[in-house]
């Protein structure tokens, strides 16, 4: 019995000792939704932290005056290192900073151009609380801190709005890529490939955008929009790609899910809209010559989405012609991207990796000064196969019927 008593007392003391070890109530946490990093004039890092105001997000529940104030609150702190800035920010917040729900890190363009992104990431990678799947973006033409001080409609938490926008636009348009913290780090440390990031910019009146009234209007004062792909070289941002050039990068990386391509038809520009629904891109290296040759093979399948001029879509020959036109157009677009990138001397496509996979020995010789010396000289062949699989609900357009009617009327 004494043994049991002792055991019981021991057990009790264990629970007493543990107390509330690492216990944290949800209401004691400041849930961080996004973080931004800039550098100010004095050369200090400025960390902007965006907190969720839970009561204002899930509006109208109970107590707390749901939906009264803004969904997020922003605090700014500075320090000589990112971590110091982080610690300093705790002086302004009444709760424990809580990172696991932060899913966005914004880096100011200026900082990315001067210092690069990698130096800033160690602090995030090291912290157990920060998810390695946190997404990374660059705030274009503005400080990250300013970008975070705006409210967004529909998705009340700006970080979520950014993430969702990025995800959807990558899928629908193929001009941006979703890059997470770990993606970026892996990407930048891997040999034979350089990282890219998506940019976001603010359209509209930024000064008005941090007020609640802004999102209460039908047309918010400002809007956050995915815009461009940031190209890095030697860890620093060197160029922005936009539109078709940006999509070319995404395409060569084989991340395009959907893309719309406007084709010229019988002299009319943008007469046929071809949407790629499925595609597969492979990069192959031919390492027989001194300077390797790269072949990009694209196989795209898609549908006709729009015609602005009568086209006989029930004719297989016409369809075949459209396919050829699409192939030509895609090839042209990719070529433009490749040329510009070779000029930038940054192998964001991973041609180096393709060479390494093909011939590891050869790659060893090329590895040094790959970006500067060899990459711009690589001959790139682009082969495109495009197929039209569907023409939508209509075969022939009603425009041709309209034409027929008019021509009859004219007789």
């Amino acid at each position: 019995m004494r043994k049991w008593l002792l055991f019981f007392l021991l057990m009790m003391s264990v629970t007493g000792l543990s107390g509330c070890w690492s216990k944290k109530e949800l209401s004691e946490l400041a849930i961080i939704s996004a973080m931004g990093i800039d550098k100010n004039e004095e050369g200090k890092y400025v960390k902007t932290v965006q907190f969720v105001n839970p009561g204002n997000v899930s509006g109208g529940l109970q107590g707390g005056g749901g939906g009264q104030g803004p969904a997020v609150t922003v605090y700014t702190a500075e320090g000589d290192t990112v971590f110091e800035a982080h610690i300093n920010s705790s002086a302004k917040v009444s709760r424990q900073l809580y990172h696991p729900h932060a899913n966005l890190v914004v880096i100011g363009e200026e900082l990315a151009r001067t210092e690069g992104v990698n130096v800033l990431l160690d602090v995030f990678e090291r912290n157990a609380e920060v998810r390695s799947t946190t997404k990374l973006i660059i705030s274009r033409d503005m400080k990250a801190g300013d970008m975070m001080k705006m409210l967004t409609a529909i998705d009340h938490i700006p970080a979520e709005k950014v993430n969702n926008t990025l995800k959807i636009t990558e899928k629908m348009r193929g001009e941006n890529v979703v890059v997470s913290l770990q993606d970026f780090i892996k990407w930048s440390t891997a040999p034979g490939i350089e990282p890219i990031l998506s940019g976001f910019r603010v359209e509209g009146n930024l000064a008005e955008a941090n007020k609640q009234e802004s999102v209460m209007q039908m047309d918010p004062a400002a809007n956050l929009e995915a815009n461009g792909i940031a190209v890095f070289k030697d860890e620093k941002l060197i160029d922005w790609y936009e539109g078709q050039t940006a999509r070319g990068v995404v395409w060569i990386l084989d991340r395009v899910k959907q893309a719309e391509i406007d084709l010229e038809w019988e002299g009319k520009k943008d007469a046929v809209v071809y949407q790629v629904m499925r595609q597969n891109t492979t990069i192959k290296a031919d390492t027989k010559k001194d300077i390797p040759e790269i072949t990009i093979h694209v196989r795209a399948e898609g549908a006709i989405r729009e015609v602005t001029k009568p086209v006989k879509l029930d004719d297989p020959n016409i369809i075949a012609e459209i396919e050829r036109a699409a192939e030509k157009e895609i090839k042209q677009q990719l070529q433009k991207t490749v040329e510009r990138t070779q000029k930038n001397q940054s192998d964001i496509f991973g041609f180096g990796q393709a060479i390494y996979r093909q011939n590891a020995k050869k790659w060893k010789g090329l590895q040094e000064n790959w970006n500067e010396t060899y990459f711009p000289q690589v001959k790139v062949n682009i082969e495109v196969e495009a197929f039209v699989r569907r023409t939508g609900l209509r075969t022939n357009d009603h425009l041709s019927e309209l034409e027929k009617k008019q021509s009859k009327g004219g007789e």
Binding site: M1, R2, L5, T15, S18, G19, C20, W21, S22, K23, K24, E25, L26, S27, L29, I31, S33, V52, P54, G55, N56, V57, S58, L61, Q62, G63, G64, G66, Y98, P100, H101, N103, E129, R131, I157, E160
Partner: protein, 534 residues
Amino acid sequence: MVSFFHRKKRAKESQTRSGGPEKKKEQLLEVSLAANVDHIRQKTGHSQDIVIRMLKLGSRGEMRAAVVYVKGMVDSQTIYDFILESMMTNPSLHDKLTPEEAVQLLTEEAISIGGLQRQQRWEEVFTSVMAGNALILVDGIAEALAASTQGGERRTIQESTTNVAVRGSKEAFTESNETNIAMIRRIINDENLWTESMKIGRVTKTDVSIMYLKGIAKEEIVEEVRSRLKRIDIDAILESGYIEQLIEDKTLTTFPTVFHTERPDAVAGNLLEGRVAIFVNGTPFVLVVPALFIQFFQSVEDYYARFDIATAIRFLRIFIFFISLIGPAVYIAATTFHQEMIPTELAIIVAAQRESVPFPAFVEAIIMEVTFEILREAGIRMPKAIGSTVSIVGALVIGQAAVQAGIVSPAMVIVVSITAIASFATPSYAVAISARLIRFLFMFSAATFGFYGMILAFIMLILHLCSLRSFGVPYMSPMAPLIPAEVGDTIFRKPLWAFKRRPNQLVSNNQVRQADDQKPHPPVKDQKGGGRDA
């Protein structure tokens, strides 16, 4: 400490001994009827319900006799028709007789009742009278005839209220042992269905019967049940729960190691698997041993439904059990330790709700759980007319006011409600109530160590369950120890035609349950494989 408890126990024992009725000496009936009647009157304290009917036998009525019975315990009609009337009118009884001959005549000719016993000892006599037998005493002989005339008002066979099934027999056991045993006999018409009866309880002398299928039930288990029942020496057995608590393998557990049911088909099914049933007079709850953990998640209906449906439902029950066990604990652990595990949107919603709640999640959960338990208990004990008031007040207090006042969060209300519903959905009340108790342990461990603590508690629970035995059969079998052949009737329920064998652990040697090739198939018309059209 040890000796202290022992001393206490000993003291208690001696108390019951002295307080209870003393063991009688072998007291025999006397020859004189008057003395016997007097003795009965005296022993029963002249109780009004003990009827002593004096009558005369013999040629000139020179022989006196008496019929003794307890009012209400007997079927009066039987006494009038088959005892009193025949004794008074049977011509041969009015010849010149010796008492010995009279008794002989009574047994052989006059009394047309099935059960008739000659008794000499007072102890026997009293037991049989108190059990509802009619006693016939004849002057001049130290013997009594006990005629079984049990009857009186009883509850009729009704539908089960605790083990409700959509499909299957609607009959449920009653309070009468004979009726209950007969109900099983009606299902299993086999001479190997054996019963043994005994009287347990010094004062109540309750009829307790065990029933098993000879040749199917394992002899050791039957013997174990027998010896455990024999060991019981207590003043009263008021319900089968008394027996259950006195024959358990382990008392320090919240889990039931004896199965009880109100349904005859459930008992029959268990007997056929080689289990032993214990009937206790005065309760419709029949005990079945040995009980396995998984048995409490099974319902008779599982065997009446097709196997796919039954399996799905069994999975659901296990899931329900887990919800009722760890529902609030998961909520506590997730909101106080592992906020990163909650999806962001949900975390924000929960955080918003918790914003205005003044208590930590654990305290909040405890408040709600205790409130719910109070409501539940009140709902059960309240008279039916007031019961609805309790539920209305409860719904308003918990569901509305507490949330509006900001004392508890709506999420907590949802968690507690789901847990509550889950605990009611467990087929066995005994397991549900033990889950309800262990839930607090889980909540406590979740509040101190988070999921880590819950896992520790869970390991402890599993170890505890694996350590249990029910009449020597491991409680968690056939999962632990794993008996692959029997897993087909645990969480799964294999098709009925695949139940080739009875459970190994329970059955002695008669293991084959059905013939081979029991799988039904469409009619085979001809060998070439042509269907109906061919």
